[in-house]
């Protein structure tokens, strides 16, 4: 069990997807399909819907909160997001979406060592207090 810092509270479980490069949710991601759009991103075309998304850091954009909120509304968002460098924008967008649509998308931060451990899991479960555990498929 790994303890994360809660940036936006909630419970989730799903398959792990670790990003190989930072992603800007505004412009680099399509909320209508849940896919990575950014032509320069190594995982272009990958769908983020329902995954436990591991990204060391976000690429900053002031419009990212709207993109994640829109994706949560449409059901194309990751089930949860885990950072190393905490990101205000995605946490705020997730909080707004939860208030408006009643759908939670937990956002957490973990240290770099724990991040490497989580990356190797196939599935993860996130508990409300920020505990993260590997789950059997």
């Amino acid at each position: 069990m790994i303890q994360g810092t809660v940036l936006n509270a909630g419970e989730a479980e799903g398959p792990v997807l670790a990003l190989d490069a930072p992603l800007s949710f505004w412009g680099g991601f399509d909320p209508r399909t849940g896919m990575i759009l950014d032509a320069h991103h190594p995982q272009r075309g990958v769908c983020l819907a329902g995954v436990i998304l591991l990204m060391r850091e976000a690429r900053g954009s002031g419009s990212a909160p709207g993109a994640i909120a829109e994706a949560i509304r449409l059901g194309t968002a990751p089930a949860a997001i885990i950072f190393v460098t905490p990101d205000v924008n995605l946490a705020i967008g997730a909080q707004v979406a939860e208030t408006l649509y009643g759908k939670a998308c937990p956002v957490l931060a973990v240290n770099a060592g724990d991040y490497e451990i989580l990356k190797r899991a196939a599935n993860l479960r996130i508990w409300r207090g920020g505990a993260i555990s590997p789950e059997a498929v």
């Binding site: 002031g62 990212a64 709207g66 909120a69 707004v96």
Partner: protein, 421 residues
């Protein structure tokens, strides 16, 4: 260190002022905890970005606020929109009804909330804004940089929703650029060795800003060797270019910006980059992706054109007409368009063949078919974003080059001695 809230903050959080204000305070507390702020501080002013439509969630958020008793805590102005209420033809409803109607609805909701409908990315050109030393909340990257740097206000770059939460509560987390320590420069750009004809030209602030952003990233920078005669439009160009190519939210100009009467006031020493004409020549070629040749359009006014810049264009035109059929846009705010109309310049420019859209930005909300092919601009920010967003090729040049090229219909280049060397 845990976050200290006062009685008013706690009351809002408990929902005593309604669900909208509760959400606003919840967002503020959430951000403050992530940023490690010890407490919240009051602000005087806000410029919000969440009025720019990016999807249905933006409209739902604004409607939730209006329907649940939200009240603005401070004077709040609005950034550009996706559509123009003054000129519906800029984004015809038929192009994407859901988006166009959503964007109009969003403008209506924020106006109903009590925002001053400025719809501009250059709010600092309007009278009645914040002053030196004021804590404010802004979200538009060039406005954040200009307010922090040129005016000497204090703001972080607040993303969508959090910007509105700050405007409603009238507070921000005390962190980052609100604190003295966060405002000290981490690196220096030394321009003192550049030739005067380079430093005095209007290309210079755009090229310097582009270079600065690429090196500084989001670090606070200080520039030495700026001309004491640098105009507000020069400050706008540096702010916009450095915020686009990097993420610069504050730069100091020694002897030019209010917090930096001398280098030691903002810099303890450290990384120093000597800026050379080679660096600026490289920046120019990065921004100018097109070969010189016949033009398909001209796009000026990113960020929104100022009154002074309109005056320069009128003078440079000298009564001539742009090439017949060449789409020439100058985007600005309603407020500035009103001023130039009173001066007679609006009529002059429209007669000469310019179109002056308001409320919008030309790389988000153009008459789409017009902006394609080879487009000329004097703005580093436009040159940075437009190739990706519109798929155009950019000919970047000085304002004089843009005006002469508009008349000729073909890229015209001034023989800048420093650029040619």
């Amino acid at each position: 260190m845990s976050l200290q809230l006062d009685d008013i903050d706690t009351a809002l959080l408990a929902g005593r002022e309604g669900k909208a204000m509760q959400l606003a305070m919840r967002l503020l507390v959430q951000a403050a905890e992530i940023m490690g702020a010890p407490y919240l501080i009051p602000i005087r002013f806000a410029h919000i970005d969440a009025c720019f439509y990016t999807g249905r969630a933006h409209v739902d958020f604004a409607r939730y606020l209006v329907e649940n008793g939200a009240k603005l805590g401070v004077t709040t102005w609005t950034n550009t929109s996706l559509v123009s209420l003054a000129d519906p033809a800029l984004r015809p409803e038929t192009s994407d009804p859901e988006m166009v109607n959503g964007a109009r609805e969003l403008m209506r909701l924020y106006t109903e909330l009590g925002c001053k409908p400025t719809w501009t990315c250059a709010p600092y050109q309007l009278p009645g804004g914040p002053k030196f030393g004021d804590h404010i909340a802004a979200g538009e990257s060039n406005a954040v940089s200009y307010y922090n740097s040129v005016v000497g206000c204090r703001t972080n770059k607040y993303g969508d929703y959090l910007d509105v939460a700050c405007a409603l509560t009238g507070k921000v987390p005390f962190a980052g650029l609100h604190a003295d320590e966060g405002r000290r420069a981490r690196l220096q750009f030394d321009c003192t060795a550049l030739p005067d004809d380079c430093r005095d030209g209007d290309l210079f602030p755009h090229l310097l800003g582009h270079r600065m952003g690429a090196i500084a990233g989001s670090r606070v920078a200080v520039v030495s060797g700026l001309s004491a005669r640098m105009t507000k439009d020069g400050g706008k160009a540096i702010s916009a270019a450095a915020a686009a190519s990097g993420g610069v939210e504050l730069w100091h100009g020694v002897g030019v910006t209010p917090e930096a009467p001398e280098l030691a006031a903002v810099f303890n020493g450290g990384e120093t980059n000597v800026v050379t004409t080679d660096d600026l020549r490289r920046a120019h070629s990065q921004l100018s992706t097109a070969l010189d040749g016949p033009l398909d359009a001209i796009a000026l006014g990113t960020p929104h054109f100022s009154f002074a810049e309109f005056g320069e264009v009128v003078t440079l035109l000298g009564g001539r007409h742009v090439k017949t059929g060449l789409p020439c846009f100058i985007s600005t705010s309603r407020a500035v368009r009103k001023l130039i109309a009173a001066k007679g310049w609006l009529a002059t420019l429209e007669t000469a063949g310019f179109q002056i859209p308001v409320d919008v930005c030309t790389y988000y909300s153009p008459r789409i078919p017009a902006l394609r092919g080879r487009v000329m601009t004097n703005a580093a920010k436009w040159a940075y974003y437009a190739p990706g967003m519109l798929g155009v090729e950019v000919a970047f040049g000085s304002l004089r080059e843009c005006v002469e090229s508009a008349v000729a219909g073909d890229v015209w280049r001034e023989p800048h001695s420093w650029l040619m060397r």
